[in-house]
């Protein structure tokens, strides 16, 4: 086997040196009646070429969103990945290293993560970042758990416009934690109802959890909401699912969030059927020792030269075991490294320009949609790069027709939100060309004429 260097000759020799007569002897502690005496029922080993052909075949039976115009967002955002990002992110020194438990031989990963942390704090406006979580949904669940741990309260108010997958994951994570989740309704603007926020605050919740841009693409008025929450003893958790928006939207930290969490996959990671993505979390200074997950800190070596280590590990499972702030161990370090490269590449101006272009593409699409007779914008609130549209027939039907034209349509909101029937979430990013948009519009127009 090409991955196993021990030759048959060596194997015999080594077994002798170990002092056993056969490899079976090494497995004698396993009850012999349980030991398999026939091979596993798996397909036979393939040559590298055959394996590559097989996988190529599987891959080609999927829709490549780079080949067909695609209006799906809803939690997975397509953006251009600069060549430097893939090239550097594929450096095997980053890819095949272990968690940096031994900092002296891991300064590369550690400095890259320290820089990632820094950039996440700059982007989100809160001063402490961890070095990644599994994904945005899990990060959101962990943020809620943090709020409970620190406030010792048991109510959580969650916007109905939180991504359904986040909501479901949050529920799974908190089910056995004596927590009540209260849903906050949405206004016709498509925003979390500020009055509902005010009223739930009377019940002294641990936290209010708001996504912005929310699942409908609408940018929440976080300043307004936080002005209500401020000084109530409840925390504001802001969720960001489309990290690219932070290039142009006021940072959640600046609008009063105590915790910002979400997913930053859209900064340099392929959409890759939903993962690996990049859960992130930033918190206020006072939650420094409460944040879950790995954190990299700056220190010095014996010669007093600057270096980096994993730190604050007394929060973590390997030290605190059942009392840890989280059970997370392996996280998404490489994704954080890649996002760091992405952010550094675009930088101060590029991130802004990219966000602006997303906003503009989507505004153009929205404007054109607005002019169609058979569609109407579901909400009136301001949006970033996606928005909801109510059609006059089921989304599935429209999407099927688009598929026939080689277009991947938007996300059907209605199953998750029955109150918005025939409603689709359309996303346009910098990769959506004017031609894609004009094409979509003319197809929708035609459909309107036919139906």
């Amino acid at each position: 086997m090409r991955y196993i260097p021990l030759t048959q000759d060596q194997r015999r020799q080594i077994l002798k040196e170990i002092g056993v007569s056969s490899v079976e002897e090494l497995f004698e502690s396993i009850p012999s009646n349980l030991r398999l005496n026939q091979p596993l029922d798996l397909p036979p080993s393939l040559s590298e070429w055959a394996v590559q052909r097989l996988l190529t075949g599987l891959a080609e039976s999927n829709a490549d969103s780079d080949k067909s115009p695609c209006f799906l967002g809803a939690g997975a955002y397509r953006h251009y990945i600069p060549a430097v990002v893939s090239s550097l992110g594929n450096r095997q020194e980053f890819v095949t290293a272990y968690t940096p438990y031994q900092p002296e031989v891991s300064q590369g990963t550690l400095q890259a993560l320290f820089e990632y942390q820094t950039m996440m704090t700059q982007l989100t406006g809160l001063p402490v970042s961890n070095a990644s979580m599994y994904d945005g949904a899990m990060a959101t669940a962990e943020a809620a758990l943090l709020a409970f741990r620190t406030t010792k309260k048991s109510l959580l108010a969650v916007s109905r416009a939180l991504a359904p997958g986040y909501r479901k994951t949050l529920e799974t994570y908190t089910r056995h934690q004596e927590i009540t989740i209260r849903e906050l309704p949405v206004t016709p603007e498509g925003r979390t109802d500020p009055e509902a926020v005010q009223s739930v605050l009377k019940e002294n919740p641990a936290a209010i959890l708001i996504q912005s841009p929310n699942f409908f693409g609408v940018i929440e008025d976080l300043s307004l909401l936080s002005s209500h929450i401020n000084n109530t003893g409840s925390m504001l958790i802001t969720v960001v699912n489309e990290a690219v928006s932070l290039g142009i939207l006021k940072s959640p930290g600046d609008t009063g969030a105590d915790i910002v969490c979400g997913d930053a996959h859209s900064m340099g990671l392929p959409i890759s059927y939903g993962g690996p993505y990049l859960g992130f979390m930033t918190v206020k200074e006072k939650f420094l020792r409460q944040i879950p997950g790995r954190v990299v800190g700056m220190t010095v070596d014996k010669d007093r030269r600057t270096g980096f280590v994993n730190t604050l590990s007394t929060r973590e499972q390997h030290i605190r075991r059942e009392k840890a702030t989280s059970n997370i161990c392996t996280n998404q370090a490489l994704c954080a490294t890649v996002a760091g490269i992405f952010m550094a590449t675009l930088g101060r101006k590029g991130l802004r320009e990219l966000a602006f272009l997303n906003m503009k593409k989507s505004a153009y699409l929205k404007q054109r949609i607005g002019s169609l007779k058979n569609c109407r914008l579901t909400f009136t609130g301001p949006t970033f790069n996606e928005f909801a549209v109510t059609l006059n027939e089921p989304v599935e039907r429209i999407n099927r027709k688009l598929t026939e034209k080689g277009i991947i349509g938007g996300y059907d909101l209605s199953p998750d939100y029955p109150e918005y029937p025939d409603t689709v979430l359309l996303c346009a990013t910098e990769l959506t060309t004017r031609e894609h948009i004009d094409n979509l519009i003319s197809i929708l127009e035609d459909l309107g004429r036919v139906s």
């Binding site: 021990l6 430097v84 020194e93 700059q122 599994y134 994904d135 690996p276 930088g347």
Partner: protein
């Protein structure tokens, strides 16, 4: 350079490496390294875009660098890492095996990389088939009946499993089972996951042989016990010889068996965990199935279960009808979702590629070779280092520093000195029940020649322990940075750069 194969030679040496400041220190106002796709739109009236107090004008502190700055910065950083592509990583419990390069190729096929998670399933048949088949393979390997690929790492697999155990007991009206028994040798994630799942944990003190003490177990079993969480082979590298007996005892007491499958590399093709009585097993694809560790992830922690637990698996689940695959969300007893989508799909592609490359015989050969290599290290080093449990081991073996302590040399010193010889240190001070543990897992992908080099380095260090212990306290001396002050980092946390940051040191 050694001049022939038999000459002694250690890979560790020193050479030119390049220093590099923080990316923020490279920033120059107005410098750009980016390229945004063209704006092909007409100008739009400002009114159609959000504005006002929702917006920011600037992201202060973000770097402004050119493309060449980016490339050199991260290239230089990368050269400071040790990695599996550099050399031997005898990290016990971590199964740092070689990551085949063909897996990098398959995962980046455009049909996978550019596949949106929300396309209708008919546009994702390849991905769904891959997930379905990978699930089937893992079920066969684990001897269990159903599986989820959703958890993003081992610890999330544990949590998923424990939540299922909770749901299982509750579904039977058995609401008082709030205790999980965990051996003292267990990995920290085990108790931590139990807590998140709402359980209370009780520690089982291991017997003198490193295994679960049946009497101790019996004394803890009662009808509050929801499950035992055991690792097999356990973290001492020892097969829990009473696995079946334990399973019977726990099952008889109404509890379930959660098996931490982090060490599955020792068992693949040899024995199926399901046949050892496990009801639930998580599998670390980033260990046993060769997906790279990425400096701390992403991983993937599928959870296999027996039929009784199947209804509780997370949603959505891949279902197959004839030769068509789809997502099924309609599982009323499911514990729910653990991920916004379906887990770390890219990692699944790699693991699938690996299994198809290895085949059944290859996986068994991997397990056997991993165990052979660990035992070889065990017999070669036991004259120099005290061995924690001197008996045939599985895929890893554990030493301690008792011999060396007499000379004032600790496990930490030994670990750091190994770097100078060109090796990544073993896992140290874990499992907690072995004082000063040095936990060595060679895996099957290391050659005997590499292992021999490592053994010689360990023996050399033992010699240095006696002759120049101070050298060991200073170690490592060949790395870019010498021993780092972890206490300072924790006492005075600097977790990000700011323009006014006072660096803890100002060397040249």
């Amino acid at each position: 350079m050694r001049t022939n194969k038999n000459a002694g030679f250690f890979p560790g040496a020193q050479g030119l490496i390049l220093e590099e400041p923080l990316i923020f220190e490279l920033s120059v106002p107005g410098r750009t390294g980016y390229s945004i796709p063209e704006d092909d739109l007409p100008d739009l009236p400002e009114s159609v875009m959000p504005s006002g107090n929702l917006m920011r004008d600037d992201i202060p502190g973000m770097p402004e660098v050119s493309e060449v700055d980016i490339v050199r910065h991260y290239t230089r950083l990368s050269t400071w890492n040790y990695s599996i592509d550099h050399g031997f990583y005898p990290l016990g419990s971590c199964t740092m095996k070689y990551n085949p390069k063909v897996n990098d190729r398959t995962v980046s096929l455009p049909g996978f990389a550019n596949l949106h998670p929300l396309v209708p399933p008919k546009h994702a048949q390849g991905a769904l088939r891959l997930m379905h088949e990978l699930g089937e393979y893992l079920k066969e390997i684990s001897g269990l009946d159903a599986i989820t690929l959703q958890p993003s790492a081992g610890a999330q697999g544990e949590l998923t499993g424990m939540l299922m155990i909770k749901a299982y007991h509750e579904s039977r009206g058995d609401r008082d089972r709030s205790i999980v028994l965990i051996p003292d040798s267990a990995h920290g994630t085990n108790p931590a996951s139990c807590t998140v799942a709402g359980f209370t944990t009780k520690t089982l003190t291991s017997g003198n042989d490193g295994c679960i003490d049946l009497e101790e177990l019996q004394s803890q079993l009662n009808d509050h016990v929801a499950a035992i969480m055991l690792t097999n082979p356990n973290t001492l590298g020892i097969f829990e010889k009473n696995a079946c007996r334990i399973a019977r005892m726990v099952h008889d007491a109404g509890g379930l068996i959660y098996m931490d499958g982090a060490n599955l590399n020792a068992l693949m093709g040899i024995v199926k965990p399901g046949q050892l009585g496990a009801d639930i097993l998580h599998i670390n694809l980033h260990k046993t199935f060769s997906t790279p560790h990425g400096g701390g992830g992403p991983g993937s922690g599928p959870v296999a279960v027996n039929a009784a637990l199947e209804p509780f698996l997370p949603i959505p689940r891949v279902i197959r009808t004839d030769d068509t695959f789809a997502w099924d969300y309609d599982k009323p007893m499911s514990i729910g979702q653990m991920h916004n989508f379906y887990g770390n799909f890219g990692v699944l592609v790699r693991a699938y590629t690996y299994i198809r490359s290895m085949g059944a015989a290859g996986l068994r050969e991997a397990a056997e070779t991993a165990v052979i290599n660990a035992n070889y290290i065990r017999v070669k080093l036991r004259e120099h280092y005290q061995i924690a449990y001197d008996r045939i081991c599985m895929h890893e073996c554990i030493f301690n520093d008792l011999n060396q302590q007499k000379f004032g040399v600790s496990t930490l010193d030994i670990a750091k000195r190994l770097m100078d010889y060109g090796f990544h240190p073993p896992t140290i001070y874990f499992p907690l029940i072995v004082k000063g543990a040095l936990m060595i897992e060679p895996t099957e992908t290391e050659s005997i020649e590499t292992i021999d080099q490592f053994i010689r380095a360990m023996i050399e260090i033992d010699r240095e322990t006696k002759s120049q212990p101070d050298l060991l306290h200073q170690a490592p001396i060949r790395t870019k940075r010498k021993r780092l002050d972890e206490t300072l980092a924790a006492r005075n946390p600097i977790l990000r750069w700011t323009p006014d940051l006072n660096f803890p040191s100002q060397p040249d």
